[in-house]
């Protein structure tokens, strides 16, 4: 009962957000610069939330998320530009191929832990980038021209589905299994949880949504190049999750929104942007290693009154 109520609240709030922003865009109150920023924000939130599933919920420290973003971007670009299929098919194909890539990367590497996993995922992301750099079919280093197809509606629908699926995954039996792996993998294993299965499943699901975000990103700019998907992009996504709080989906969303705004304003000063990013990263880790929100959610603020926290 309670759960379905919060679902309806979420649905109404998101419909309202969508309607208001769409109205403001149509009437021209939000100009092109800002509507572009809002679409970028939606893409970044999707990336943050999908990495949150891997790092925040399952506790697997992956720093190669840009690799799956690249897979999604290139696959979707091939589907629309080379095969001439509709955008919807491209988004779906991007997600599926990225999830397959996630499986392919996840099955061998998720046996590793901590630092080694981080380096292995970074290595895989680099390999993915170098592979695209060497395929002439997708333009090699020069990149690939893509039509602009991403609209606010597409971005919003994808974002909505991403958040819905990941929140429901987290609150399900699978999500609790994943959280138990984060807390203590050996103990979770001893309790009969198939840790490999859940780790790979969370990784593939995260990769799926990163691929979808890649499709949106590819069709938001006019060109995609392998250099857009280097490890700096992975670190960008990592910063959203870390700053927001490892294990807090609302924290990731807030951090993604906030940092997208900052980076839009600092677009002309990329060095300053990176210095601010890195300082924020170091200071947050030194003084508040759990991130801004810790593992708390913004909805917890409203729950406390009833004192009903057992469904967390």
């Amino acid at each position: 009962m309670k759960k379905s109520k919060s679902f309806w609240v979420f649905l109404i709030l998101s419909a309202l957000t969508f309607g208001v922003i769409q109205f403001l865009m149509n009437t021209g109150i939000i100009d092109d610069l800002y509507s572009n920023m809002i679409i970028l924000m939606a893409i970044n939130i999707m990336l943050a939330v999908s990495l949150h599933l891997v790092i925040g919920i399952t506790g697997q420290f992956s720093i190669g998320h840009a690799g799956f973003l690249a897979v999604g971007a290139y696959v979707s670009a091939i589907v629309t530009m080379k095969l001439g299929l509709p955008f919807f098919v491209a988004i779906l194909a991007a997600g599926i191929v990225a999830a397959l890539a996630g499986l392919l990367v996840g099955i061998p590497t998720l046996r590793l832990r901590g630092d080694y996993l981080a380096i292995a995922t970074l290595g895989f992301a680099e390999i993915i980038r170098i592979v695209f750099l060497n395929i002439d079919y997708v333009g090699g280093a020069a990149g690939m021209q893509v039509n602009r197809l991403t609209t606010w509606t597409w971005a919003f629908v994808c974002l909505f589905i991403t958040i819905l699926v990941i929140v429901n995954f987290t609150n399900s039996r699978h999500g609790r299994a994943a959280i138990s792996i984060r807390e203590n993998e050996i103990a979770a294993d001893a309790m009969g949880i198939n840790t490999t299965y859940y780790k790979v499943a969370a990784f593939a699901l995260g990769s799926f949504f990163a691929g979808v975000a890649g499709a949106l990103q590819a069709h938001n700019f006019y060109i995609i190049q392998p250099t857009n998907f280097g490890f700096l992009k992975s670190f960008d996504i990592l910063i959203y999750v870390v700053l927001g709080g490892l294990g807090s989906i609302s924290g990731s969303v807030i951090a993604a929104v906030f940092l997208t705004i900052i980076s839009t304003y600092l677009q002309d000063y990329p060095e300053t942007r990176m210095i601010i990013y890195s300082l924020v990263l170091v200071i947050v880790m030194l003084y508040r290693p759990k991130g801004l929100m810790g593992t708390k959610e913004i909805t917890d603020l409203f729950k406390r009154k009833g004192g009903n926290n057992h469904d967390k």
């Binding site: 790092i55 420290f61 720093i63 061998p108 590497t109 046996r111 590793l112 901590g114 630092d115 080694y116 981080a118 380096i119 292995a120 970074l122 290595g123 895989f124 680099e126 390999i127 170098i130 592979v131 750099l133 060497n134 050996i186 103990a187 490890f231 670190f235 990592l238 870390v242 490892l246 060095e271 300053t272 990176m274 210095i275 990013y277 890195s278 300082l279 924020v280 990263l281 170091v282 880790m285 030194l286 290693p289």
Partner: protein, 291 residues
């Protein structure tokens, strides 16, 4: 005799990787931290050497020593400011801090002096020797000589001096070492100083050999040096040397076979294969995991 020449090229490249990998492996051995900023210390070393040569008109060896001293201080500074508070933090927090420090150094240098390339002046004699039909430049030989010399000095420090003994003790068991009266903080700082000095030396050598330096040059060699450290068995000093040399040779072979664009991928493929099949590295022993 093409292959002999490629082998020499590979060993020269590998000795640079080995020098960087030594710093990684020493720091990892002692505080279990992948010091992502290590590749950037390498970059800073290259720039200090560059300014010492062009600004003060010094030769190769004085510049090398100045760069090593400056990098040692820089490494200790990084450790004292950023990593010291993280001794008891989670591994993820430490790793993220290291990434943050690395980005801060890279973009700090870009902010101060811009992102443009710099060309190293030629400070090394350029003679070529004809050995069994292969053209071997005096540059490669000198670089190899300097690297081997530094590694021998490192071996001496680690095995024959009191600081080295303390380093080995702390990396074996930090708490027990502290109980035995070893100043753990100072030992860790010494490790950072030695590792960073080697990275600084590698920076100057890289500049003198490959001539082009820029603020983001440390990223890829840093990652590859880490691959070399893992390849040899992380935390094991001879492992880092062998791993570095092996990686340099493999990369040169891949390039020589005409796949130069795949060179960077080769390193990461080696990394992943090693992590999957023998995560302890060539020289490592397998350890059982305990609760």
């Amino acid at each position: 005799m093409e292959w002999l020449q490629q082998l020499v090229n590979g060993i020269s490249l590998g000795s640079i990787y080995a020098l960087i990998a030594l710093g990684y492996t020493m720091v990892y051995g002692i505080i279990k931290l992948i010091n992502f900023a290590h590749g950037d210390v390498f970059m800073v070393g290259a720039f200090i050497g560059f300014y010492a040569i062009t600004g003060w008109g010094l030769g190769f060896f004085p510049a090398l020593i100045i760069s090593m001293v400056a990098c040692a201080l820089f490494g200790v500074l990084i450790e004292r400011i950023a990593y010291k508070r993280l001794r008891n933090a989670t591994r993820i927090a430490a790793l993220i801090t290291a990434i943050g420090v690395s980005l801060l150094i890279e973009y700090g240098v870009i902010y101060i002096r811009g992102a443009q390339l710099e060309t190293y002046p030629s400070v090394l004699p350029t003679k070529t020797f004809d050995v069994f039909g292969a053209q071997i430049s005096s540059k490669s030989l000198l670089i190899l000589g300097v690297s081997v010399g530094l590694m021998l000095i490192l071996q001496f420090i680690v095995h024959k001096t009191k600081t080295g003994k303390a380093m080995r003790a702390v990396s074996h068991d930090m708490d027990a070492a502290r109980l035995m009266g070893i100043n753990v903080d100072r030992t860790i700082s010494a490790t950072f100083a030695i590792g960073s000095a080697l990275a600084g030396a590698a920076g100057v050598i890289f500049g003198a050999y490959y001539t082009k330096i820029e603020p983001l040059m440390g990223v890829i060699p840093g990652l590859k040096a880490f691959v070399a450290a893992v390849l040899g068995g992380i935390g094991i000093i001879p492992g880092a040397m062998v791993g570095g040399l092996l990686l340099g040779v493999v990369e040169t072979i891949v390039s020589a076979m005409g796949y130069s664009l795949w060179r960077d991928a080769a390193a990461f493929i080696i990394l992943i294969l090693i992590l999957i099949f023998k995560p302890a590295g060539i020289f490592g022993k397998n350890t059982k995991e305990k609760v």
